[in-house]
Amino acid sequence: MSMAPVKLWDFHGGIHPEQNKLQSTTEPSALAQLPKKLVLPLHQHIGEAAEPIVEIGDTVLKGQKIANANGYVSAPVHAPTSGKIIDISEHPIPHPSGLSALAIVIEPDGRDAWVEYTPDQDYSEKNPSHLRNIIREAGIVGLGGAGFPSFIKLNPGSQKKIKTLILNGVECEPYITCDDMLMREDAHSIIEGVHIMRHALQAEECVIAIEDNKPEAYESICKAAAGIAGLRVALVPTRYPQGSEKQLVQVITGKEVPSNGLALHIGVVCHNVATAAAIYRAIHLGQPLISRMVTITGQAVKQPRNLEVLIGTPMDELLQQCGAEFDQIERLVMGGPMMGFALHEINLPVIKTTNCIIAATREELGLDRPAMPCIRCGACADVCPVKLLPQQLYWHARAKELDKVQEYDLFDCIECGCCSYVCPSNIPLVQYYRFAKGAIWTQEQEHKKSDQARERHEFRLMRIEREKREREAKRAKKKAPRPKTDTAKPPPVDGAQMADKMRQEAMAQRDSAEAARKTEIQAALARVQAKKKDAAPKTDAPVAANSPTPAAASTQASTPTSDSDSSADTATHKDHEQSQ
């Protein structure tokens, strides 16, 4: 081979956890059995959930689109086999929350009949945006685990020049071997996919990065990539989290992706090898993303291996196929042990981002280690690939000091879990960071909402004041009808001033609120009794609406901003009725 060795850079920190990859690579990959039903969540990717375009009872063909992308950052969903739509409703989905979400359920008819599709061998003539459109319509998202719609990452934008396309075959997480298997068995598809991606991005060069614990995959890819100009294969020393995009970009190019920026900004685009193979199938064969390679492993699985699985296949059927001992499973993890999440149930469907299912036993996990206080040993800072100070982040996140965690650059954290892994005190550091991130997002949303509420409230106070003035002016007009004066015209209204005035009045009224509250309670009691007596709403409605006592009293008590003058209040009421 005439390939020049790729110069590699280093990244900070990282760990060498036990690999546990050999178990699932002893046998070649196989096809998963066709399940009894397929559950296809509409939200399998980053972005908006897809919108169903089929109805219960419809029959669909393999590869037929059953849900449309909703917005730019979204992806459509296709039927993985032919069959009948038997349900569109909320189903438990693989998500750390254990919540349910809308999903389409297909009952396979066993024919596995393809929808008509159009292979397109000659993509090189095509406009890159046309290619992106096909990839988008094929529902392809990043298959490395994140699930970001791939066509977006194949769009270099108008002014950006892409220097390097990095194909991520690193697979640094322990246990996972699906990319390894794919590279061993189907290097051809990957390399073909690379050509399409390079064409779409107009990238100068491409580097395929593979960790040195996958020599077979490296051999296979090298063989397939031999003699292709501008395409190099890099064998990188095994270290977690090398497969994280930012770290891999640093290892291959020596450049740091700017904080809250994208690799694109430094002229690099990173895609997973499995995504490349899926893109090849979408363009060359016209087949959408309906299946993927999934590693089924863990000590509770007797024959750990890789399976080519239809999206939507329930995990328990896969585990069964691999001889899992269900009573031995202590924890079921989707993804790798470092960044994957534990599932709440066993019968969840495989989705586009399911790269690995670990059925772990109790011994395997080494559970029941109590979290001890931090001894400031600094092991976390030594392994942090982003060079954060996990200790400081932990102290502030634990104390819920949301502004301080941001001072320590919480949002640069990639949640790789290295800090938790090495912590001698077994502190769940990553969860503290995730909590803090969530709390900050919630806080921001609530701030937005409260600003909106404030605006509306102030506007309301201003409006009430204006109405009152107008009414008074009208009354004055009636009392002393004078020919043409401009005093009746309300002065220009300043919202904040009005609001202040209203508030002062309201504060004066505060003391009387106590008494009013009592009346309110009595009124409520009376109302409940009345309701009990007569269940029909029509009969008691006019009474309540017209009688001023209970209604007016309660309005006054509970609307802090209402006027203290009760006659004015009823007037407002009437005024409203007229105006609306």
Binding site: E256, C377, A381
Partner: protein, 357 residues
């Protein structure tokens, strides 16, 4: 089938506080062995008393603070503190010295500040300094190494003396004790003698002392036995660095700065300043560098911070040893730098990935 679903990572390194503490204690063994070889069984008796005291104090306070007792007792941190204090005490200290020192360290310096992970000062050093200030006579009554001593005690006799102050017939306590090399050096230098004269008085002829000052590690004025104990701790410390239990930053910075400043003054005036090797292999320099200054709870945490912190300890040690009121100074130096650790941490952060440098 519902599972409990905790957060990732689902795989953890085989590490724990207990493991870290136990490795540190294990690494102390060569030093302790040298100690026993040169100064008799006293140190072993002291360690036993100290460990028992530490565990009971820790358990008592945890109970009073309504904290789970077992996880904290088994973390090994109290045992390590106890062993470190015992190693700083004169081998024939009466039992109550050990008990008071350890109790003070565990109760006041550790638990009252919030227990493991929350103490700003190194508990062992707080205990030692308290003893040194409160009981100066007991704390400076060292015994000479076995080969220089007129008489030495067996294990039973040592234990009897420590516990009940009874000595076998014909041996008096004064006959057993002698000042440490650092102490006598200080005294003699204060009297205006030169280093060579001190050597001579300690029973070495001028010829031997000149040879020894060329190869000072083996020099008697490192203190007979002391250089071996220092060597033992050095060995254990290197093993800790090799097994990545501690990082090299603090020991290297501390010993390096101590070496540099003592070499500087030795070159300026060899008659009135001890050799660099003497400083490195006397007193608690080695023990301090590898086992005390590296206590993560009270040290600086970033790597650059650790280097500053270690240098500070080395410099303070030399300054207090040479011009201060006490013969050895590692404890004071460590406590002084403990105070600076938060400040150091605040100013020496590494630049975060992806941020402009």
């Amino acid at each position: 089938m519902p599972f409990n679903a905790p957060t990732s990572p689902h795989q953890l390194a085989p590490t724990s506080i207990t493991r870290v503490m136990m490795l540190v204690i294990l690494a102390l063994i060569p030093g302790i062995a040298a100690y026993v070889w040169f100064f008799g069984w006293g140190v072993v008796v002291n360690i036993c008393i100290a460990v028992v005291t530490a565990l009971s104090c820790e358990a008592l306070i945890l109970k009073l603070r309504q904290r789970p007792v077992l996880p904290f007792l088994s973390d090994g941190s109290a045992v390590l503190t106890a062993v470190l204090i015992a190693l700083t005490l004169p081998p024939l200290s009466p039992w109550w010295i050990t008990v008071i020192g350890v109790a003070f360290a565990i109760i006041i310096a550790k638990q009252l500040y919030g227990g493991l992970g929350y103490n700003p000062f190194n508990p062992a050093m707080v205990g030692y300094v308290m003893l040194l200030i409160s009981f100066p006579r007991e704390m400076t009554s060292w015994i000479p190494p076995n080969e220089l001593a007129d008489s030495s005690l067996g294990f039973i006799d040592t234990a009897m003396f420590i516990l009940f102050s009874t000595l076998p017939d014909g041996i008096s306590f004064d006959a057993l004790t002698e000042a440490t090399p650092l102490d006598s050096l200080k005294t003699h230098l204060a009297l205006g003698n030169t280093v060579d004269e001190v050597r001579a008085q300690l029973g070495l002829d001028a010829e031997a002392s000149r040879v020894l000052s060329v190869i000072p590690i083996f020099g008697a004025i490192g203190g007979k036995g002391w250089e071996w104990i220092g060597g033992g701790f050095l060995l254990g410390g290197l093993w800790l660095i090799y097994t990545k239990v501690i990082s090299w930053h603090i020991p290297v910075a501390m010993l390096g700065s101590l070496l540099a400043i003592s070499a500087l003054f030795y070159l300026i005036d060899p008659a009135h300043f001890a050799t660099p090797m003497f400083h490195l292999f006397s007193g608690a320099a080695m023990l301090g560098a590898f086992f005390i200054a590296t206590d993560p709870v009270t040290a600086a945490s970033s790597n650059r911070g650790k280097i500053i912190y270690g240098c500070g300890i080395g410099l303070f040690t030399y300054i207090i040893r040479t011009w201060g009121g006490y013969p050895d100074a590692v404890a004071f130096a460590v406590l002084l730098m403990n105070m600076c650790a938060p400040l150091i941490d605040h100013y020496f952060k590494s630049s975060v990935f992806g941020h402009k440098k």
